[in-house]
């Protein structure tokens, strides 16, 4: 059975996970290991008057280290790596963020000191004994409030807490289009604040070796090389060649493990200070308090149509809450990952987006699965559905009428869509959900006193976060290529070294499938190595659904070189021309003859070096850096069908159809799994999840008792299908599938509920209470009865 491209190969990595043999960061125990606990601010905003460590030290703490000592040792501030300029040309107003607070704390959970002790329990006990004298200051939590005159000020660099006031598109042309429009739809839309919640809490084990002046860090990272780069170049923890970062098995990320957090920095530094290995593992409440949150946009959005229901303009004014400090990619998420997608799947001649990013006394906000694209999709697709209802036309037909039909398509907001067929997945989704049969199903629900609704979402998103020159011109501080290396062993087995990181995506299987496809080797003969800066030369890591389109493309380029050299060796041994050599099924053959060698014979010849073409070096190992030519543009149609109980406002998701175009698919089983997971997160956002702070900045949703995670009985079985157009921007034609489910699904769910209850005025999460109130407001309860 083929294990190449398109095969549903079972995952190689599963064997260790189902046996309890996965190795996650918290499973690591070093010799002479101590444990860290953090003293965290209980206040959302306060000045630190003093820290009394004596009781903790008397109780046996190895050390209690604070922010002044940290900065005194030259450890640099945490930075945001993407420069955004305001529309007046000024650079973003970034305030200082020290890994341990020095003078002020700015959110509940802000780290003040690191306490080292001989056991985790002792460290936690000691941390509770550290007395911090605070002068409590007023706090501001909501982004719109933070901009008001007189609101508490977080950073001296950012007047009125404004980080930047950025725009994209042509304001004057868009205003003119609106002035001439036949229909304008306007909505105030909030994108609810979420906590990513990978099941593995963040963890770090840092070891300083004084004799070598060398650090080793095990950490829960999606991008260990970027972590090393930032820890070294910006935070001055250690030079890169003296710092090894290992991200072993990582239990989910969803964006939250991209960033380099205060805890990793503090553990590395504390390891040097105490000459002990230092382990810290977050508990769940600490994760809610400190892992970067996602979303949290407040937007006024307008959509304009001409008399023929053709879109003539989209205009949005967004306030993005970035929390108390600027996290690594926080500035890119509400700008270039958001407003560049405001054209959706549609021909929109005029677009203008304005985004103000603000500081508040909340945990930093950064990219969470989808990162900006869910926010764009949610408002566009809610407006399309609402527009159709207000115009009295079928929402499907309104979308179809405005679809981009020809590619490449240049939008007014930077993106140039390279390939797609939006009608194909729309038609596929309509058929899968039996759209025509909906009215009969609605009547059946009504006969039981229930309100049935159907809602659609047509999303497009941008993946890969590359090419490097393009993102560099938009403000990115790093290049966003990927690297890969193919090492063929003398016996013909293959090691893949990749800068991509797998934390649930199944790279150990899909990347091996590339080798299987190329040389006809079983995937069992291939080992994928990732997540260790001592083993893999460099890599930008996994986020933005980039591991396929960018990471695997780098491997393709390296495989090209391996294949080329292997063919030259074989041609030499078989006395044939290079161009006549074919490699298939583990054999290297001269086309049209019975002359052949085993793959392993060619590999061995490469390493013995006894009989190679003149001038050729021995060995069979090649690497490649790959930088794509464009973003990739996955798209799809999602349709959700719900039933609402008008007595309670409870929503049941009865059916969910996802019809996606991901370009080339390496392993459909894994791709479907990625979609399923994204859908659950999107349905979670739509129905259940919301981070809630009270007015004083206390986090009210700091455990699984309070933050409603989707459980198995909250979600349906999903119907997933694929409609392929190849991406011309990379050698495999891949687009990326990791985030689509979370991007496309929230508006489909909300559109279904608003369809059921006959009231468009509904915000996420659509709790039973909110839905019930909306039903009362619309009078649809009576309609059902």
């Amino acid at each position: 059975m083929s294990e190449g491209i398109g095969a549903r190969v079972l995952r190689k990595e599963d064997k260790r996970f189902i046996s309890g043999k996965g190795k996650y960061t918290d499973d690591v125990i070093e010799i002479n290991q101590a444990y860290a606990a953090f003293v965290r601010s209980p206040h959302a905003h306060a000045k630190i008057n003093g820290i009394n460590k004596q009781a903790a030290l008397d109780a046996g703490a190895v050390a209690v280290l604070d922010g002044k000592e940290l900065t005194g040792d030259g450890i640099g501030n945490i930075i945001c790596g993407w420069m955004i300029h305001s529309k007046d040309g000024s650079p973003m107003n970034m305030g200082a963020w020290s890994a341990l607070a020095t003078e002020y704390v700015r959110y509940v959970g802000d780290a003040v000191a690191i306490v080292i002790a001989d056991s985790q329990a002792a460290a936690r006990d000691a941390a509770e004994m550290v007395e911090v004298d605070y002068n409590v200051l007023p706090a501001v939590i909501k982004a719109d409030k933070a901009l008001e005159d007189g609101s508490p000020q977080l950073h001296p660099e950012a007047k009125n807490n404004l980080i930047f006031d950025w725009e994209i598109g042509d304001a004057a042309a868009t205003d003119a289009a609106f002035a001439d429009a036949a229909h304008i739809v306007e909505m105030d839309i909030t994108n609810n604040r979420l906590s990513p919640n990978p099941m593995e809490p963040r963890s770090a084990v840092a070891t300083y070796d004084a004799s070598e002046e060398h650090y080793t860090l095990y950490t829960t990272s999606q991008n260990p090389h970027v972590a090393r780069l930032v820890l070294s170049a910006f935070y001055q923890v250690a030079p890169e060649h003296k710092l090894r970062v290992i991200a072993p098995d990582v239990g989910g990320g969803f964006g939250s493990k991209i960033y380099i957090y205060p805890e990793e920095i503090a553990c590395l530094w504390a390891s040097m200070k105490t000459n002990r290995s230092v382990k810290w593992t977050s508990d769940r409440t600490e994760a809610f308090l400190t892992d970067a949150h996602g979303r949290d946009h407040i937007t006024n959005a307008k959509m304009a149509f001409d008399a023929n229901h053709k879109l003539v303009g989209v205009k949005v004014d967004t306030i993005a809450n970035l929390g108390a400090y600027m996290s690594l990619f926080s500035s890119a998420t509400p700008t270039y990952l958001y407003a560049t997608l405001l054209s959706g799947q549609y021909n929109v001649p005029n677009i203008h987006g304005n985004v103000r990013a603000v500081y508040t006394n909340t945990v930093p906000v950064d990219a969470y699965r989808g990162a900006g694209r869910p926010e764009a999709t949610y408002l566009l697709e809610r407006m399309m559905e609402t527009s159709a209802r207000e115009l009295g036309v079928d929402p499907i037909e309104l979308r179809r009428k405005n679809f981009v039909q020809e590619f490449p398509h240049q939008t007014p907001v930077i993106m140039c869509y390279d390939a797609g067929n939006f009608e194909a997945h729309l038609d596929g989704a309509l058929e899968a959900i039996d759209y025509k049969g909906f009215e009969a199903r609605r009547a059946e629900s009504a006969s039981r006193g229930k309100l049935r609704g159907i809602g659609t979402s047509c999303y497009i998103e941008a993946c890969g976060i590359a090419p490097s020159a393009a993102v560099g011109s938009l403000g990115a501080g790093v290049g966003l290529w990927e690297s890969g290396e193919i090492r063929v062993n003398p016996v013909g087995t293959v090691e893949i070294l990749t800068g991509s990181h797998s934390h649930g995506q199944g790279h150990e299987t899909t990347f091996a499938q590339l080798v299987s496809e190329r040389f006809g080797l079983p995937t069992d003969n291939v080992q994928v190595i990732h997540g260790d800066t001592d083993k893999v030369q460099f890599g930008m890591g996994t986020y933005g659904s980039r591991s396929g389109a960018v990471g695997m493309s780098a491997l393709v380029k390296a495989l090209d070189k391996v294949e080329d050299k292997a063919k030259k060796i074989a041609a030499h041994l078989l006395e044939a021309s290079d161009s006549d050599i074919v490699i298939e099924g583990g054999e290297v053959k001269v086309a049209g003859t019975d002359k052949k060698l085993g793959w392993h014979e060619v590999c061995l010849a490469a390493y013995t070096g006894h009989n190679l073409p003149e001038g050729m070096s021995p060995g069979l190992k090649e690497d490649a850096f790959y930088d794509p030519t464009n973003f990739t543009f996955p798209s799809g149609t999602y349709i959700c069908e719900v039933e609402v109980d008008p007595e309670t406002g409870k929503t049941d998701v009865l059916a969910f159809v996802a019809a996606d175009d991901f370009g080339t698919i390496i392993n459909p089983m894994i791709v479907e799994g990625q979609v399923h997971g994204g859908l659950a997160q999107g349905i979670g956002q739509a129905l259940l999840e919301e981070v809630v702070y009270d007015d004083d900045g206390q986090l009210l949703t700091a455990s699984y008792m309070d933050y409603c995670m989707p459980r198995a009985d909250d979600v349906p079985n999903y119907q997933v299908s694929h409609y392929k157009t190849e991406c011309p921007g990379n050698p495999l034609g891949m687009k990326g599938c990791g985030e689509a489910g979370a991007i496309g699904s929230p508006p489909a769910v909300i559109n279904a509920i608003t369809n059921a209850i006959g009231n468009n005025n509904l915000s996420m999460p659509a709790s039973p209470q909110k839905v019930w109130a909306a039903i009362q407001a619309s009078g649809s309860k009576q309609a059902a009865e």
Binding site: R11, R16, T285, L679, A712
Partner: protein, 155 residues
């Protein structure tokens, strides 16, 4: 400190534990069986599920001293030597896991569920009984499929 004696994965073990030591801490830190995971602090996520005297138990919700004299099975002890348990196999064959972190708890909870319900375990029951196990990766679709397949196989 208290000395406890129990059977873990068929072997007699003993250890000295603090009164506040949780069973999961004893399993992970003292026995070094790190397949059992901790995903929350409130007995909600189920990543720590083991079997205590044949019943699924959240090992973060039980003190180690309470397990004195018990027979404990962790994910490492579920397979019969090299032969995987049918639930382990079903999770792999149905792509019922992604990052693998919730997986040990899922498999232990699922095994208990199948032991109690047998082969007639239906989807609604599976979803309802999985309330105590959170997965953030799979959207549950393939976990439900895995458990249904294992129930059929074991029945």
């Amino acid at each position: 400190m208290t000395v406890i004696n129990l059977t873990v994965n068929g072997s007699e073990v003993s250890g000295e534990v603090d009164d506040r030591t949780l069973l999961v801490q004893f399993i992970r830190d003292q026995l070094r069986l790190t397949g059992t995971h901790v995903g929350c602090d409130t007995s909600q996520c189920g990543a720590c599920v083991v079997h205590v005297d044949g019943k699924a138990m959240k090992s973060c919700t039980m003190l180690a001293v309470q397990a004195d004299g018990s027979d404990v099975t962790t994910i490492e002890g579920l397979a019969d030597g090299a032969e995987l348990h049918p639930v382990q196999k079903a999770f792999r064959e149905n792509h019922g896991l992604q990052c693998g972190f919730c997986t040990p708890g899922m498999i232990m909870a699922a095994t208990d569920m199948i032991n109690r319900h047998g082969k007639d375990l239906d989807e609604e029951t599976i979803r309802e009984e999985l309330e105590g196990n959170i997965c953030r990766c799979t959207g549950y679709h393939n976990i439900v499929k895995s458990i249904a397949a294992a129930a059929k196989e074991m029945g």
